[in-house]
């Protein structure tokens, strides 16, 4: 593949992935990016140089065998390609869609030094989608070890940890508080970026490995981690409960009707399918002018969701400038293309409401950027006297989330940091409590899907070692 001839004819650009037209998609919940067809996938795979030192793999938090699977795609061995991916990644259809590849695998692609990197994410997605369509083959599972592991939380880290442990022959039960598995993949990331059918298909694949998933099970309420170990005979526990506690601004008027946390706004829309109300029972109410507070991916998801729910104007209100937006560049661009308005260097100080308790506006203040702080980010400084009233009738607060305290609070002897995150060794996932491991957002604070998956993988390896020596 990587002979001299091929190199000379390399296309400098990634093959485009077809997307829905921005104007059209801004008003529906269909997936924005449509995925490669076979011919495009093969052509894109042929751009790969098959580097011997595999720099791309080092950028992947779960070390997918990238050059190997891409070679198979180039040779049209699609069944082999997905099998190769799944040796390392339990959720390829998810990762191919939501990973920030520009900061991971594709960042290290040799081709990227001169041209655009290989579309690794798009190829992973192609392989996974094709398999979901054609029917899934179940990977091999080691003989039963007789050990039981409880995984608390069925988000990306819990699903990955469970899948790895099941493959190693352990009996794994996932306990999930909500009525479906998937965590943020189900309630947070919108349908138009990650169809829920795709997530559920991947969850079904995990079940085929023998993983049991108990939904409607709030650990810390129906049972504690200690009880799971002492009374229900689990030999080890993995805590992957995420960062699902919404932060609010703490400004006056924030409890007015029409003010949502991003979690509520997105949970109603995605998990409960409020966008299909009244066919689905859960309502959601969006006014004409929506302000989304914050500049991360969750804020972009909120602003784009608001448009799809019928808002005439959807604003991102962020106190730093465009450059500091924590969101993925692609997400901010998609939002902009769809018509989201960015009000930068701006932050609300009070939310105003009428006598029915409804939001009527936001009193905001303008900011300017000061000197870079210790972390290198320029800190925003409010400009005195710059207050103005922004005319909005719905506010979505997307300024971040903390760890949900239910499990940390009810587990004896679990060390927490000052933010309420579980203290765990990042190399092993081990907590201060023997047999209890943790990873993902509950340890790191809100981060990415793939980092959570990496943490689940790491913990699965240490749990396996712990159980083997036990």
């Amino acid at each position: 593949m990587a002979d001299e001839k091929a190199k000379k004819t390399i296309d400098p650009k990634k093959h485009e992935m077809p997307v829905q037209d921005a104007k059209e998609r801004a008003h529906n919940f269909e997936e924005v990016a449509l995925g490669y067809d076979e011919e495009t996938a093969v052509a894109e795979a042929q751009r790969c140089l098959q580097c011997k030192n595999e720099p791309c793999r080092k950028g992947c938090p779960v070390q997918v065998f990238i050059p190997q699977f891409i070679k198979m795609v180039a040779e049209r061995d699609f069944d082999g390609a997905i099998k190769k991916i799944k040796e390392k990644n339990a959720l390829p259809a998810v990762c191919g869609r939501v990973c920030p590849q520009e900061n991971q695998c594709e960042k290290y692609c040799t081709l990227g030094k001169k041209f655009e990197p290989v579309g690794i994410g798009r190829l992973e997605r192609f392989c996974a989608d094709r398999e979901l369509k054609m029917g899934v083959t179940v990977p091999e599972v080691a003989p039963p070890t007789g050990k039981k592991v409880a995984v608390v939380g069925s988000g990306p880290s819990g699903l990955t940890c469970a899948s790895d442990l099941a493959k190693k022959g352990h009996e794994v039960t996932i306990f999930e508080a909500l009525h479906v598995a998937g965590g943020v993949l189900m309630y947070g990331i919108p349908q138009f970026r990650l169809p829920k059918e795709v997530v559920q298909a991947e969850v079904e694949n995990l079940k085929k490995l023998g993983v049991k998933i108990e939904v409607n099970s709030v650990v810390g309420k129906f049972s504690t981690v200690d009880e799971l170990m002492e009374e229900e005979g689990f030999d080890a526990v993995y805590i992957g409960t995420g960062a699902g506690l919404p932060y609010f601004m703490g400004i006056p008027g924030e409890n007015a009707c029409g003010v949502y946390s991003a979690n509520e706004f997105l949970t109603r829309t995605n998990l409960m399918k409020a966008y299909l109300f009244p066919k689905y029972d859960t309502p959601i109410k969006v006014g004409k002018k929506v302000a989304v507070l914050g500049g991360g991916n969750v804020a972009m998801d909120g602003a784009r969701t608001a448009l799809r729910l019928g808002a005439e104007e959807s604003h991102i209100v962020y106190r730093r400038s465009h450059e500091e937006l924590p969101a993925r560049k692609e997400e901010a661009e998609h939002a902009e293309e769809e018509g989201v308005i960015f009000d930068l260097l701006t932050s609300p100080v009070e939310i105003l409401s009428n006598e029915d308790g409804w939001v009527t506006g936001m009193k905001c203040i303008k900011y300017e950027l000061g000197e870079p702080d210790a972390s290198g980010r320029r800190s925003p400084i409010p400009i005195p006297g710059s207050e103005f009233i922004m005319d909005v009738d719905t506010v979505v607060v997307a300024i971040g989330q903390g760890p949900n305290p239910l499990v940390p609070r009810t587990t004896k002897g679990l060390e927490l940091n000052k933010n309420g995150n579980i203290v765990a060794n990042l190399e092993t996932g081990a907590t201060s409590k023997q047999g209890v491991y943790a990873g993902g957002d509950v340890v790191t604070g809100a981060a990415t899907v793939i980092l959570a998956m990496g943490a689940g993988r790491t913990a699965a390896d240490s749990i396996h070692e712990y159980l083997t020596n036990k």
Binding site: A177, L178, H179, V215, N216, S217, V218, K221, F222, S223, G244, L245, P246, F248, E254, N255, C257, Y260, S261, N263, E264, T267, R268, M272, K273, F277, P278, K279, Y280, D281, T282, P283, I284, K285, D356, G357, N404, P405, L406
Partner: protein, 283 residues
């Protein structure tokens, strides 16, 4: 899936189910609640645990039909299955021996008050129960309340049964009769106006009063803040910090506004349902 084992109809709008939910039954305590979702298209609605049987692994819920989901729930029968049923949620009521506790139950609030009264009595308190409803046909569980309380007073707004008047009228009489110093604690659960009235009354006498707030909820595990409410000037999440709060600290006006947040949508859901029912389920 969670099986409905028994159904009882207390009135055309108040119904009771015994639901098979061993996990919830094993660990629940007085004051906690569950969230259920009838089917795939359903919404998640919170209902208080009105009774439980740890051995049989069952939970009793009593609900009033007020909108689409509760009407649909009311049409279900023993043998039917509820898709999702999660709990126990919320903090249990803080039970201790304080001497005398007055437990005031208004309307369908009789159901949540029942296990709390029983727990206070089991903790050695003299429990004075007050139960009331708009009219006789909306009353239920008089026998169970009589068993859970040391003494029980019954009232109806329209006087169609026992005495005429609000539960707060009875509460006032009891405080006046016994003396406020002899009543260290009041628990009041029912419709918001009733809880608010009870809290206003006991504030005059400076008697500590616990109320159980029925805020709108989605997940019920603290991840969305839909149920948030100001208590003593601080924002609290009813689902994880409550549902019990000090009635004298609750911002009732705010709660009342947040409660009707989705009123027009609720009406729409009901109309949509009537429409699809008439068309035999077709859209």
């Amino acid at each position: 899936m969670f099986k409905i084992l028994e159904k009882q109809v207390h009135s055309p709008v108040i119904k009771q189910f015994v639901v098979e939910a061993p996990r919830v039954a094993k660990s629940c305590k007085a004051g906690q609640f569950i969230i259920l979702q009838i089917n795939e298209e359903g919404e998640r609605i919170p209902l208080t645990i009105a009774d439980f049987d740890r051995e049989k692994g069952t939970i009793t819920i009593v609900f009033q039909e007020v909108g689409k989901s509760t009407i649909q729930l009311g049409e279900m029968e023993a043998g039917d299955y509820i898709k999702d049923f999660v709990g126990p949620l919320g903090e249990p009521t803080h039970i201790e021996n304080v001497g005398t506790v007055v437990c005031v139950a208004g309307g369908v609030g009789i159901a949540p008050v029942h296990p709390i009264a029983r727990a206070f009595k089991e903790a050695g308190n003299h429990v004075i129960g007050i139960m009331g409803a708009r009219s006789k046909d909306l009353l239920f569980w008089e026998d169970k309340m009589a068993a859970a309380c040391s003494e029980l007073h019954v009232t109806t707004d329209d006087g169609s049964y026992v005495r005429q008047g609000f539960v707060t009228d009875v509460l006032k009489d009891i405080i006046e009769e016994k003396g406020k110093e002899n009543i260290p604690l009041v628990v009041a659960i029912g419709p918001q106006p009733m809880m608010r009235a009870a809290a206003n009354l006991t504030k005059e006498y400076d008697i500590k009063t616990i109320v159980s707030l029925n805020a709108l909820m989605v997940d019920g595990t603290g991840m969305c803040g839909c149920c948030r409410i100001s208590v003593g000037g601080e924002t609290k999440f009813v689902c994880v910090d409550g549902p019990d709060f000090d009635g004298h600290q609750v911002n009732w006006a705010e709660l009342a506004l947040r409660q009707v947040y989705f009123k027009s949508e609720e009406q729409l859901a009901l109309e949509y349902r009537e429409c699809t029912c008439r068309n035999g389920g077709a859209e």
